[in-house]
């Protein structure tokens, strides 16, 4: 039983590692003009980023909002008043940080 779980965990780890190393994560955000920002994500092979963790942080790194890419591989959040950054976190070494200033108008 123990072997089954360890094997399963190893397989999962290998599958995750394979996915993460083979494909480059991609994320782009744009201002909707109504006080919200939409981020879209994905991977360079065209696969969806649904479920990928998303964070909106202030300049000091405090998390202002946290969520996940939805089934359309999108994440919508309320635009913060001050400086902010968006973190797309698809695993270690596969995170993307976008400065709020670089969000397309």
């Amino acid at each position: 039983m123990k072997g089954f779980f360890v094997g399963g965990a190893l397989l999962l780890l290998l599958a995750w590692t394979g996915l993460a190393s083979a494909h480059t994560p991609l994320c782009a955000c744009y201002d909707n003009g109504d006080g919200t920002v939409t981020c879209e994500g994905g991977f360079s092979d065209g696969s969806s980023a649904a479920g990928v963790e998303m964070r909106v942080e202030d300049k000091a790194g405090n998390v202002l909002e946290k969520g996940k890419m939805n089934e359309l591989s999108e994440f919508v959040f309320k635009k913060p008043d001050g400086d902010y950054k968006i973190v797309f976190y698809a695993g270690p070494g596969h995170d993307i940080v976008i400065d709020g200033k670089d969000v397309s108008e």
């Binding site: 782009a28 879209e40 994500g41 994905g42 360079s44 670089d102």
Partner: protein
């Protein structure tokens, strides 16, 4: 006297033989965008290597884009313009189109067939260009379903200079064995903000065969072309579509695709 007449006929034939090919163009400066926005598209029927004679375009029959398999009609966005070439001016079209989301935007144009009086025949170049935003591949390798179409086997917006570009020529949805394909370089890129080509060419061809290069597809309709210089390259597969007659005359229904290469710096 006979010699003089022969010489004059020979000269007339040389002059009548076009050095460059007709190419329907959908031009926008960049194929690979880092952030989306409004694209400025120019639809011009021209001779791209020499910036020569611009043919008058009628109102296109279809102009649309495909993004994430969704088709959007763009006919209402078309506005008539006058395009200046090195030798004349011609009727062309422009459109400003929003492309904000990530992914591929496949722009497709089905022009009204153009009557080429010298050949007493029509030419209809069904044209495709693919613009990508933020690197996410979504639609570039799928056939749109045009009657004459080149389907890319390499991302047409992610080519380094020296890469090859490969495609499959389709006529009525089926591969066209041994299709003849003309290739031209956009040697006088359009001047930003103006409806004209830049005057200075980027390269000089040593001979006419280098102006319009002709390559052939293989038995499966596939072709491959090594790209020697950065910029836009046009590929036109001639007479591959099923509509070979229009208004009682011959019609060459061609498939055109434009790809852009960039230098490694």
């Amino acid at each position: 006297m006979k010699r003089t007449i022969g010489f004059l006929i020979g000269m007339a034939l040389m002059i009548a033989t076009p050095a460059a090919a007709h190419f329907q163009m959908i031009y926008t400066p960049e194929a690979a965008l880092t952030s989306g926005g409004e694209l400025d598209l120019k639809l011009v029927f021209c001779h791209p290597f020499e910036a020569g004679h611009t043919m008058d375009m009628g109102k296109p029959l279809e102009f649309f884009m495909v993004h994430k398999e969704q088709k959007t009609d763009l006919m209402k966005d078309l506005k008539p313009i006058t395009w200046m070439s090195e030798t004349n001016s011609g009727a062309a079209w422009e459109a400003k189109v929003k492309a904000r989301k990530m992914g591929d935007f496949v722009f497709c144009l089905v022009p009204e067939p153009y009557f080429e009086s010298k050949e007493d025949a029509y030419i209809q170049q069904i044209t495709k260009v693919i613009v990508n935003n933020a690197g996410m591949p979504t639609d570039w390798d799928a056939a749109v379903g045009l009657p004459a179409e080149i389907v890319a086997l390499d991302k047409p917006y992610a080519l380094w200079t020296g890469n090859v570009f490969r495609g499959v020529v389709l006529g009525d949805g089926k591969p066209v064995p041994n299709a003849e394909i003309e290739v031209e370089y956009l040697n006088h890129p359009p001047v930003p903000g103006k409806n004209t080509f830049q005057k200075e060419p980027l390269v000089v061809a040593p001979q006419d065969a280098f102006v319009t290069m002709t390559i052939k597809a293989d038995a499966n309709g596939q072709f491959c072309f090594g790209i020697p210089k950065a910029g836009w390259w046009g590929f036109a597969a001639l007479g591959v579509g099923p509509m070979d007659k229009y208004k009682g005359k011959e019609n060459s229904q061609d498939a055109v695709i434009w790809v852009k290469a960039v230098d490694m710096k």
